[in-house]
Amino acid sequence: MTILSTHTKEAIKTGLAMTIAYGIALYLDWGKPHWAGIAVAMVSLSTAGQSLNKGVLRMLGTLVGGAAALIFLALFFQARWSMIFSLSLYIGFCTYMLTGKKYPYAWFVSGFVCLVICVNAGTTAEQAFQIAVERTQETGMGILVYSFVSVFLWPQRSAGAFNNAVRKLFATQAQLYRAYLGLMADKGTAEESQPLKLQEAQLLSQVEQLLIAAETDSYEVRKVRQQWQRFLDQSTALMKVLERWRQSFAEIQELKLKRLMPNLESLGCEIDLRFQQIEHMLAGEKPDHMPQVITLKMDKTETLSLNHFQKAAVTVTKTQLDRLEAVSRLLFGCVQDIKGYGRQGSIPHHEEHPSSGLAIDLDRLRAAIMVIATLWISFLIWVYIDPSGHAMFVQLTTTFAMVAAMMPQLPVSMLLLPFGLGSAFAGVIYIFIMPHLSGYAELAVLIFAATFAIYYLFWEPRQALAKAGGIVTFVVLIFVENPQTYSFAKYANSVAMFMLGIALVVATAYIPTSPRPEKVFLRLLRRYFRHAEFLMSRLALDWEKRGGWVGRWKMMLYQNDLLELPQKLAVFGGQIDHRLFSGNTSEQVQKLVNNLRALALRLKGLVDAREYPQAALLVRELIDDIRVWRTAVEELFCRWSNDPATEPDGDLQKRLAARLAKVETRISRTLSLAEAGELSEEDYVNFYRLLGSYRGLSETLVGYAQLAQGINWPQWEETRF
């Protein structure tokens, strides 16, 4: 007996579900049966859980979008401008939400369903409610049919894939920990651990997605879903702690850490052992070692021999190691709880991060503006020119713009090929094959065969765009209806509508600025330094939190944005066509982005260190030196925000060394002035934490200046089509 491959089974399941959905819609004589077909195509994913989850989101989006459309139609039925104004606000809001992390697919569906109903009902007013109901019932039916097929025919559960991904994620994090432990002892290089870091981030995102799917289709995951969510949070916290720990190595590698921290080795072994035990538990084995709480001790005599900057560096490393100890212990308890090897009642670990409350993401806002502009332009074209597709031109173009907003790193023109070839494929079927068919049985065979072919040929994740182009054009351009009619003009007009729609979105992608990756990179880089400059200006030792809620909101907004910008820079940096820019390689850009990521974390560390109270004596005596240092960094950020290619005055490395020596002398003098008992242990720790953060930030800045000199910025700035 031949064993079918997974993608063959998936293609058969989608083909079967598509055939049944069309059959039901035609049998019940529902208008626009392709809506049911589209629903099947969109919720067809590799596991039942993923499909059910996407189906629920699609249904939710359809209901919300349908309700919003009926409200708009009720309020502004005879007022086209008020209608399009309110509709554009709603679509803009949906676009902003769909580019976020919470239920993006539901927001996408909600936006375009509202548009579909408003635009369709706008021309046939008396049918508004019927169109809304039809859209909802056909979407619901399509989802239901695919869900039944995916549950009863070769069901693929997500639990297996989820458990595998969790094991891989944790194994990667353990490997990364061991690599960093070696790096701290000056063994190996940071570049060697780079692939592991990338893998860690990818696996974390994969686990997050699979958890949602596994919760839906696997009871064993669902019953401990809160613990799994906690595991995910703690894994994210572990990723951040590991990264911050690694960044503190540059300043401590020359020090004799084993003497400074006598129990460092035992702490390292204990954490390693915990990681091993967690890996065993994830593989289904009982742990044979319980975590022991270990507090990292400092040797006071050895510490006295260090200069102040070395003490600061050691304090920063110790803080990160203490965090690592806590996070690894909590992770152990969490996995123990999940696997049922005794409950430790793991307390959720709250990794400090600024609340993202009302922080507005400027790139998401930009995407919303682009979609609103596309809606208005296509609406005006419909009203004043009336292109192919008529009202459908508006809904199609805006939907394409929303898709483009979801994938800002990909050029919109990439849609042309899959949709063009898809239209040709659908045209052959519609013009040459379908007129020869008679009855639903023959049509069903055709629908099954075409769907199977598309899903079978384009089954790999990287072919998603080709698959979407193929299935959407097939479903839309074969115009299945009761009774079936054939018209070449209808087909030709619809193809023209697809192509014109994509062409319009290619043009509106330039609103408000060029979408070329190097231009976006430069724009984001300027914003990065603008925000860094603002944050630096708020870090003065004598700066008090004033400025009311606007000041606090700006701090929160800029901090969030600064931490997210390196990820966006990495995405756009990876898309730059380096053949156009001689002398620059993708590795150079990657290094620059890594440096910016480190800089953002350093700045965040500085903001956190600034939160701790500082002794009045230290503030009074050192405020001038710290101010000069801070304003120098601020000025550098300001210059880079205007022009990232600006080279700093003189040798930054030498200037930094001179500044460090000066501050060192001043600190020694200040501390010798302090009377016994005037400064507490906590005062010292807080001060050294702040000092270490300043030093780390400055070192990273020197690194950026060196890397930036290697990039041919003027070429990136050149205007291009």
């Binding site: 013009i431 070449f488 003009a489 030709a492 062409a503 205007t719 291009r720 089509f721």
Partner: protein, 70 residues
């Protein structure tokens, strides 16, 4: 003599000559933009998207006048 543009007929669908000229003009503008990018000549333009629109219009008129029979 009254001027009547000659339409293109594909499968019974009549297409205006301007549409064909516009398709050809836009395609030529895309090719030209790629060449200008390739040889770094686009840096002499202040705002390339507008230049692209202008190129498309020029090519459309050119094709409409020279290539498309009327």
């Amino acid at each position: 003599m009254q001027y009547i543009p000659k339409e293109f007929v594909i499968g019974g669908v009549y297409m205006p000559p301007l549409l064909i000229a516009a398709i050809l003009g836009t395609t030529a503008a895309v090719a030209m933009a790629r060449l200008l990018n390739r040889y770094r000549l686009s840096r002499y333009f202040f705002y390339p998207p507008l230049v692209f629109v202008a190129l498309a219009a020029i090519f459309t008129i050119l094709f409409g006048t020279v290539l498309i029979p009327s």
